[in-house]
């Protein structure tokens, strides 16, 4: 069996968030696609949030709940006529429960080309200490 289409990219359809996301503003809310990797030292999260600029992105970590909220800048294309619409735009919202304790002071967030990269280092566990016993 030949699999010629292995690296041909398909549209990863945007999912509309159906949860009880805050609905203070009208318009659709989407769930960003994410990758979450965990190593011994940290948790790395990448999220696709096209159209979101750094100042419109809100990352909130409270207890063990991480909340990502991304607002897209108001597009000034209201005076354009739509010919063909394949995707919708809107805000992004997603919550995660994190296992383990995160060192909040060392969180690193970068936003490049519409991808948020979040590095959440775990709190260093107490290093076991050897206690030497003196005799005498």
């Amino acid at each position: 069996m030949t699999n010629t289409k292995t690296d041909e990219l398909q549209v990863n359809e945007k999912r509309e968030a159906a949860g009880p996301a805050e609905l203070t503003k009208p318009g659709p809310v989407f769930t960003p696609h994410v990758d979450i990797f965990e190593t011994e030292k940290d948790i790395a999260l990448s999220a696709d949030m096209p159209g979101v600029s750094a100042e419109n992105l809100d990352i909130d970590l409270r207890e063990n709940t991480l909340t990502l909220t991304g607002d897209i800048a108001g597009e000034n294309n209201n005076n354009e006529d739509r010919i063909y619409v394949e995707y919708k735009t809107g805000r992004y919202y997603r919550q995660f429960s994190l296992s383990g304790v995160i060192d909040q002071s060392k969180i690193d967030a970068r936003l490049n080309d519409g991808v948020l990269r979040l590095l959440l280092p775990k709190v260093e566990k107490a290093v076991p200490r050897q206690i030497s016993i003196k005799t005498g």
């Binding site: 041909e8 990219l9 696609h33 990797f37 965990e38 190593t39 696709d48 739509r82 063909y84």
Partner: protein, 152 residues
Amino acid sequence: MLYRTSFSPPAWRYRNPFEEFENVRQKMENLFGTLSNRSYKSMGAGVFPAVNLTEDQGCYYVRAEIPGVKNDDLELNITDSTLTIGGERKIPKESEEARYHRRERKAGKFSRAIALPGEINSEKVEAALVNGVLTVTVPKAEKVKPRQITVR
């Protein structure tokens, strides 16, 4: 009796006549959640990237969401009235010992041709990639631009 209308017949638009159905479908899917597991392919037959095409009097605007694609990995070509968006989306590898909890983002090559509905001026096409959103501005050809006629 002869009737003359001062209006031209409605011009053919490329507007998706099924847009309203599409909205209903999406709402139904939200309602029933994961009951139907098959993934629905939208208009572009699932070819990445999904594009939105709009126009105003002077230009066509092609927009696509391509998060994580760098300028260097993107190739745009324009011929008579066809715009081709090609490139590769790369996702950096994680370290060996990392185990993943979620893996929803995909990497790979893509190529898509978009036929523009009218004549264009291919000399003055502009493209911008901001925050993972590509916007290509394609000016219409001079002769198809509406011209205002002043009445003296």
